[in-house]
Symmetry: D3
Subunit: 237 residues, 6 copies
């Protein structure tokens, strides 16, 4: 029995508001239940220096949490003067995930910068970020194409992410905070709309897990990402 | 004629949503037109070390802007590794303003930490922050009182803030971004509900201003703060 | 009765030694009583990057205190690895004040960098800094003009600053440390020689102040700045 | 055909020198072919503050690369003033892996600190680090037990790690630098001696991968970790 | 022929003003010609943590240069966020020199903190700092003794420092900036009043030097330090 | 009697392995007894900016210690976010020493970067670093010459370094850790093969030393550097 009363393969309520941020080229306010993330996509005319004369562009990401997005307040990273290892790990993951569905040559020597800021946290902030980032990125690329900056649309697929884990001996989909902090195994999956795996991260929190358990989590992740994909399609077409 | 079509003494639409943040002891999502700030108040059982054995508590504030809250993206302070001088100036101002209406002895050796995070910026983020911070602080103090942490309610007054400026030769209330970036004089006022002045900051952007002009701005500020105070009262009682 | 025995509208002894620093293009050792600040003005052939191709120059300022300029030693900012919020606030103020009287177009794409270093502190370091910075800046601009770097003299006015406050219920001019740490209201004024207001900063330390009180402080500030202006004129012509 | 001429399921030469560091409580110089890592384990009498009064200890890890351990020199992290996101990600992984086989209660309120420093890099530095860290940790725990610091030996299993990837369409074991930089999918596996999975990290570098491909990599990882385990057993018993 | 016209064994004009800083327990404004340094000594009731329960105290030093103390402006260390290697090297040297003449047991578990701030630089700032630091330290120790903080006077000797070098083939005493930047060998000597050597630092700037040359420099240093010692004695007794 | 049983003028066993690092243009693993340092020399096509259009190149050095190279673990400088004063002092010394025997004009506008990383420490890490750096630098310069990057070989001499000190009243050569931590005077000497002195650093740890004592240390240093020079010649020709 899950604390939220959900079935093992049941997602939290997923909601996405594209165009939430007035100034950004693309944006999405994404909710996985009580986890709320504001994602923006910013277009920059200049690619990073190491791509000079390659004809290729780049997509990168930054991630942050508002200090009181969490149960007890976290210290503000800007005030402490650096980003934690966790923050860096997550923003590297988001960037890799986005680049997996972008034709960087179609983008040309330009950069799209994804910002994921957690407004409220209740587990699964990195997977909500990736799922919302797709919408912001799509909106930004549409804008680039419509404005004539690029000739080909650079997106090659859709992408979504979800966490799964083993909670009280049972494989469950889309962990909330209560489950996340008690799960014996915790895994994040990033999957494309066409069924490919882009990223798998599985971690044994207490005791090692087996191949069978891991495959069960992957199966749940497919269910979750399909559902997220439907919401993405609804809001961004 | 103001770009927004407002009258010289007309505020933007002010909206306040108390209790917006699920986890915080007090919170307020405040909008001054397109300027949106999420304010949270966090209660901490421990006062800063320099207050040990004084019987007094503290109220402090931190301020930040989401990177793409602005027209063009600002670099993320956490990634750069420090807070700009502007950020520090603003968070010091917010903290002083809140302390002006708190009986620190009634609070006891505890601390309330105000976080103001700008979700969207269109001018006046510091004054919206202060105005919203009052609501979050009030909510937090009510909670402290109701939970029995304190015996006396520590708030001694209400407080609100607004910016005024001289735009195209005319004194106007509550500058939005278009006005702010073109104003010849820019001033921020923090006023208590009982009419006292807590903070005045007036800056000549291009040419020096006169005492008369300054008094005209102060008069507008009184109008604005009265209106903000009405909204505060509506939402927090 | 003021601790120093001064009348309410009486400045401390103001002294200015222009050309104190051997290497700088302009400099002034300024004393407001026991508050001593060394100000230098450094000319740089290059304006900041954001002014490229605008034909305009820039004036900026940095501020610091020697660790034992104060009653009890402050930690050295260079050793701690950053400047405090107070330091940044003050150096931003000094820079704005100087730019208010400089025709940046007459300066061309060059920069003048003002350094204010507090050798001894006894209240009012920021206003002494601004008042002395005018002398250093003037000396530097004279040098630029005489050396033929610029064709028009870029200064458009003179400028001075002084602090005032309400000490034991009385409005007094030019607070020293004893008064500053006990004042209920503390205000800094930056005024031009022609009578305009460039910057006003008024802060209630304990209880809010009224418009009348504030105007009384402004009146004192006019007296103080006039007197400072006389000293400036004496030493720099 | 692999650049090194190895079979698809063939590890590089694995060599481990326990007790390499004169001063450390445990140490191992580990070689996976031309990848050389010096691992030390340092015993500290004090656990981190958050474990006070829990009766539990901690194992943590730090990771670094000598600047010229790589083909072209990397900037020294100590000189730049921070650790990269990659470094932090790796050291977090090493720490989690070690904790997965340690009974933290048996350790008591003490800490073991693992340092992994890459002397020479040729792909797979994080998996060589983990595999060598086991030996250093075992040596350190043996010492603790023999010296009478602890009453029960805290290790609950053995642990090893290896990378696998899809190189030119073929699943191969233990990627060296040439393969790593050209692989379309890259995965790291951390497995216990008893066959459990502690950590899985799979990343599509260019195109998404399938479940079948992933399972093929996992099978190779089992072969590799078994072989590493034999070397561990040989050198540390 | 030296640029300044001085004889080879002639010091610049040495001047020392003890008690220059109003707030410090000890201070000295020291001039070696155009090199001006303000030294303060601050007494702290607490020794560094590593001396707890040893009954011993500590003397430490910090060093800084005002940005425009030099010919061309140096960037402000506080603004850059760290101290250069040169700064750290110098402040470590000053601290060691002072501790060489202090009986740390007589000081008890307390600390004296020496701050050397270069107001104007013309070569030899570190040796002027050490020579002036002796005066500030002496004044501080006298105060400690007179106030009854300590029972025995902790100073065991006097100390002075001077630089010598080989300039245009000739060994000369007390290098000024013009000589310093052209000298082929540059050496700093810290000598006690009783003739002992506390610190020697000799560096070949262009070509290696011989033992004979080095001894010639040492002989000049003895002349210089004797002269500095006379001034110290004059001003502090 | 020395703790190691060595004679007063007896070096520890000196061993040098040139070409230890696979990727570097020059390298040397140097051992002075239990002090082990890995030195690499990296060639860079670009000189530092301040040498632009001078036709001259540069040699610079960086130094680090593995955290557990020492008896008790030191904190990792990369994790702390800065290099200690000691580290900076040592790397500046190594750089100066190398430049003393390099014709920077023969190098052209290029840079050689020396990295000295202490794998195990037992006293004398800076002198072992310099002695080994000569070998790495020589190997790098040979490579540059053989590859045709430069037309003249830039090395003008050989160089070696050793520490000496006064231990229990006796002048001894090549201090190990036990001696170093108990020596009353500690001195480092950097000498060229042709007998010149490049750097002398002598420090009184407890009581001042005399000229005679210092000359005795210098004489020992000559013996030590001659011996080190023989090993250098053996391994690099």
């Amino acid at each position: 029995m899950r604390p939220s009363g959900r079935a093992a393969d049941e997602m939290r309520q997923v909601e996405m508001i594209p165009g939430y941020a007035k100034h950004a080229e693309g944006s999405c306010f994404v909710k996985f239940g009580d986890t709320h993330v504001l994602v923006t996509a910013t277009f920059e005319q200049k690619a990073p220096p190491w791509l000079r004369d390659t004809g290729k562009g780049w997509v990168t990401a930054e991630y942050g949490m508002l200090p009181r997005s969490t149960h007890s307040r976290m210290s503000r990273e800007a005030a402490r003067g650096n980003q934690t290892g966790r923050t860096q790990e997550i923003q590297r993951l988001i960037g890799r995930a986005m680049r997996a569905i972008v034709d960087l040559t179609a983008l040309g020597e330009r950069q799209i910068r994804i910002d994921c800021d957690v407004i409220q946290a209740d587990g699964g902030t990195r997977t909500a970020s990736i799922s919302g980032a797709y919408v912001a990125l799509k909106q930004c690329c549409d804008w680039l194409y419509n404005e004539g900056f690029i000739e080909r649309h650079p997106l090659t697929d859709t992408i979504a992410a979800v966490s799964c884990g083993i909670f009280e001996g049972q494989a469950v989909l889309d962990l909330d905070y209560d489950e996340d902090s008690a799960a014996s195994t915790d895994a994040n999956f990033v999957l494309t709309g066409s069924g490919g795996i882009v990223e798998i991260q599985g971690t044994a929190e207490e005791e090692a897990f087996s191949e069978e358990e891991f495959l069960r989590l992957l199966r749940l992740a497919r269910i979750g990402c399909t559902e997220i994909g439907k919401t993405q399609k609804q809001v961004i077409g």
